[in-house]
């Protein structure tokens, strides 16, 4: 069931609408193994943002498996073999197994989503992704009722990834979401950008996109998806728990020890680009705030 969320960030978004799920519906949907229908309600007026250029999106990447410099991934990622590509889906699912990327694609509806992308390093872009809702994939494999979290893993290929020779992180890169976050209609698996296949430096052939969280949550080149009962490990959280929490929601009010998160530098503005205020949940507050009702977001960072 695609198209549950309507783009608000198109350049001609005069009347912004967005699909909205309140918490109860979401919980009910998750429990039933199928997400409830979305209610279109008017979102807070959004600035119409121009997407970043192809060049900006594909030459400025954090993908440490290919080097720690921003331009290293664009230089090195061509070595990654993405065909064939198999994703192991296991854990608390009805149909565990090794799925080829082609099999997955054949079951999914690809749509375009123009999302803000906010890095924890306090820069941001606007990216026109193509992909499918993660919920659709999870529904297809059947999530069991005991599952509470989704764990993800990036490919680890020392022969193809020069960056993993250095123990920058404890490879392979892993990330996780709570099941309701994973089932949220905003959460997608991106397979393209600007209608083209997603470049390797951006996480080909398939990467997660969770637009209300800092970019490092949106794990790239996924080879494994595991439904679990317990909170799964997340690479940056393991490396430095004080700085990177499991949730890592974009939050201008919670300071990061390293970067003030109150404002951001939008990539593409040139040398004298002004900083812009960062929006709560990266501007997706109406859609996702109910997921965190009753949670102290200064503790659950």
């Amino acid at each position: 069931m695609a198209y549950r969320w309507k783009n608000t960030l198109t350049a001609d978004a005069v009347t912004p609408y967005s699909a909205f799920l309140n918490r109860r519906q979401l919980m009910a949907g998750a429990a039933a193994g199928a997400i409830a229908g979305a209610l279109p309600v008017s979102a807070r007026a959004q600035e119409a943002l121009e997407p970043n250029t192809w060049e900006e999106i594909t030459t400025y990447n954090n993908y440490y498996e290919f080097g720690t410099g921003k331009e290293d991934p664009a230089r090195n990622a061509h070595r990654l073999t993405i065909d064939p590509w198999t994703v192991r889906i296991d854990g608390l699912v009805d149909k565990p197994g090794d799925y080829s990327f082609a099999d997955i694609l054949s079951q999914m509806t690809i749509e375009e989503r123009i999302y803000r992308f906010r890095c924890v390093e306090a820069w941001s872009m606007v990216i026109p992704w193509n992909g499918f809702e993660l919920a659709d994939l999870l529904d297809w494999v059947g999530v069991q009722s005991s599952a509470k979290y989704v764990a993800f893993e990036t490919a680890l290929r020392p022969d193809e990834m020069p960056g993993v020779a250095s123990p920058v992180l404890d490879w392979p890169y892993v990330e996780g979401l709570r099941l309701d976050e994973a089932m949220h209609p905003l959460t997608m698996m991106a397979t393209g950008i600007y209608g083209r296949d997603i470049p390797k430096q951006n996480g080909a052939p398939m990467r997660l996109v969770v637009p209300w969280k800092y970019g490092f949550k949106s794990i790239k080149s996924i080879v494994r998806i595991t439904l679990t009962e317990d909170e799964p490990p997340a690479s940056w959280n393991i490396a430095n728990p004080r700085e990177y929490g499991f949730y890592s929601n974009v939050n201008p009010n919670v300071d990061h020890p390293r970067w003030s998160q109150a404002t951001e530098r939008r990539i593409g503005g040139g040398l004298f680009a002004k900083r812009h205020p960062t929006l709560m949940f990266n501007g997706y507050e109406d859609e996702v705030a109910p997921l965190y009702d009753g949670m102290d977001l200064t503790k659950f960072i």
């Binding site: 720690t68 920058v168 390293r258 040398l271």
Partner: protein, 224 residues
């Protein structure tokens, strides 16, 4: 070879270094202004100037060991290297202030973010050195006091190394290598033989104080 090098260097005046000093910073800003530093030029400039600052500090620290262990005499360039290092740190700081954080939360950043705190401490300690890097100051405060003052370059270099160690994400070799180079350059100033004999001597007199003396040896042995 070393002799030829020293002879050659004798013909290079120190002011030539001051003439060359602005070239990298002007070049980096030129590339940034003409859109040749990628899609996030402010960060690239900030990083490039940080690296240049570090290189210049290391170059300044290398003068004494180069003379002592390799016989290469760069002493007359040391002031120019030091003053240039100061201006690169200043340019690095101004880039951060104007292009990166744009005067927002400056004080909060300085006190809250460890790597900024440490970088700022290094910069503040460099101010008195830059201000007194002229012959008049040496005469005014006296050669001994001046020399003691300029030993601040050791903590400055250590703070710079720490700044780099703190600011990278995850485990990375580059800042560790720089920190090792700086530690090595400082270690070469310690007269280990003298330290050894003195420590043994003081051990006999007063075993509890045997750790003292490193700072003393470090300063006594650094020839200016």
């Amino acid at each position: 070879m070393v002799h030829a090098l020293n002879t050659g260097l004798r013909h290079v005046p120190a002011w030539a270094l001051y003439l060359m000093a602005p070239v990298p910073v002007v070049w980096i800003y030129y590339l940034g202004l003409t859109g040749q530093l990628g899609v996030d030029p402010a960060k690239v400039i900030e990083h490039q100037l940080g690296i240049w600052s570090l290189w210049l500090l290391i170059a300044g620290l290398a003068v004494t060991p180069l003379r002592r262990f390799a016989g290469v005499n760069l002493l007359k360039f040391r002031r120019a290297i030091g003053v240039t290092a100061f201006f690169y740190v200043l340019a690095h700081l101004l880039t951060w202030l104007v292009l990166d954080v744009q005067f927002q939360n400056v004080w909060a950043d300085i006190v809250k973010r460890w790597y900024i705190t440490v970088g700022m401490a290094a910069f503040v300690l460099m101010v008195p050195l830059a201000v007194t890097s002229n012959n008049r100051s040496i005469r005014k405060i006296g050669a001994g006091a001046w020399r003691r003052l300029h030993r601040l370059v050791y903590p400055i270099a250590l703070l710079a190394a720490l700044h780099f160690l703190l600011l990278v994400k995850g485990f990375q070799w580059e800042p560790i290598i720089y920190a090792a180079v700086i530690a090595g350059l400082l270690a070469m100033r310690v007269r280990w033989d003298a330290l050894w004999t003195r420590q043994r001597a003081s051990h006999r007199e007063n075993p509890a104080r045997s750790g003292a003396g490193l700072g003393g040896e470090l300063s006594q042995s650094s020839r200016y």
